[in-house]
Amino acid sequence: MHALNTYSFFTRRIVWLVAIILTVLLSACDDDEVCEEITANNLRIGFYPAEQEDEEFWATIDSLMVHSLEKPDDPVHDTLYTVSSLELPLNIHASSAAFVIDFFHARDTLWLQYNKETHLISVECGFTVFFDIQEVEHTTHYVEGISLETSEVTSTLDEHIQIFVPDTIPGN
């Protein structure tokens, strides 16, 4: 028993037309070779009020600046205002990095240890580094706590670390 028992001249043309249309569609789907911009896979941090239980709302830091311990004279972020989130570049030359977050009324240091993996994005875009955070430590001058939400720092837009700060600035 055959599933199809008519194969006219017309049908043959239709079947080949379908093949041509599929070729165009598949070529369009596969047209991802234009590399727009190579971006480093940064560590994403969000600030949250320490008293808040459901972590639904960010805390807003009036101003801060960030530099690494390795390059104290080269700030990662010069003075930023009304900050709720941060992106920090992890060191691709080492398996650890340390950042000093200067809240201007207090400073805290964040140490990170991680594994690195070189990852091929595409032949057009080349390679990037994915990180897997192994350990996070911090001082507690202003920062009250830290939560590692996602250890894998890849090309996704996940928030990796939550930093909990008091609702009010000490002394105010």
């Binding site: 055959h2 599933a3 043959r12």
Partner: protein, 219 residues
Amino acid sequence: MNIFKYLFLIPFLAISQLAMTEEGHDTLFVPSVRLGVDVSGFARHLIEPESITGEITLDVEWRKSHFFVVEGGLMEVDVEKETHVYQADGYFMRIGPDFNILERNPDSPNDVLLVSLRYGYGKLEHEAPFIMLPSPYWGGRETAIPPETYQAHWLEAGIGLKTEIWRNLFLGWSLRGRLMLSDTSSPAMDPYLISGFGKSDNNTSLSLQYQIMYRLPLQ
């Protein structure tokens, strides 16, 4: 593993079963062998000059509308950019049945509309002898990934057409869906292209292939 990934196989298996239950034999049936070349790899090379795939196909119609098919080929990727060099060489093989689901038309008795099932195996060696990793803050780092061997096993199902355009000379196309069964994932680098499977972004792939074939009647 998500079971829904397997659902696309069901209609093909059902149609194949229909073809297998066909009763009666055509006494005029002549077994044949068909040799072919897949030209889609060469056509793709015009769009993506960094990769080229060559593939030959062999099918045997051992019983009316029942084919045993072997496909095999070679793949090469050679990319040289300012920021990286990537090279890969591989080969692949696929075997499986084709079933014709079209009643033969007296005007074109050798034309077939085929449902295909395949098991596929691919092996490649790839390396990145030069990589410059960007980091605006920390400074770029030069590194390399030495040659690594990668293997993959997959299943594929598809549908295709073969039309006789001149005496025993055929043109054909085939749409294939592929499902990865297992592979040797590398901790350092996933291949850009898996020989015989395609892009390695996820466990499935879809491709359209074009073949030119010559049929040799065996009697």
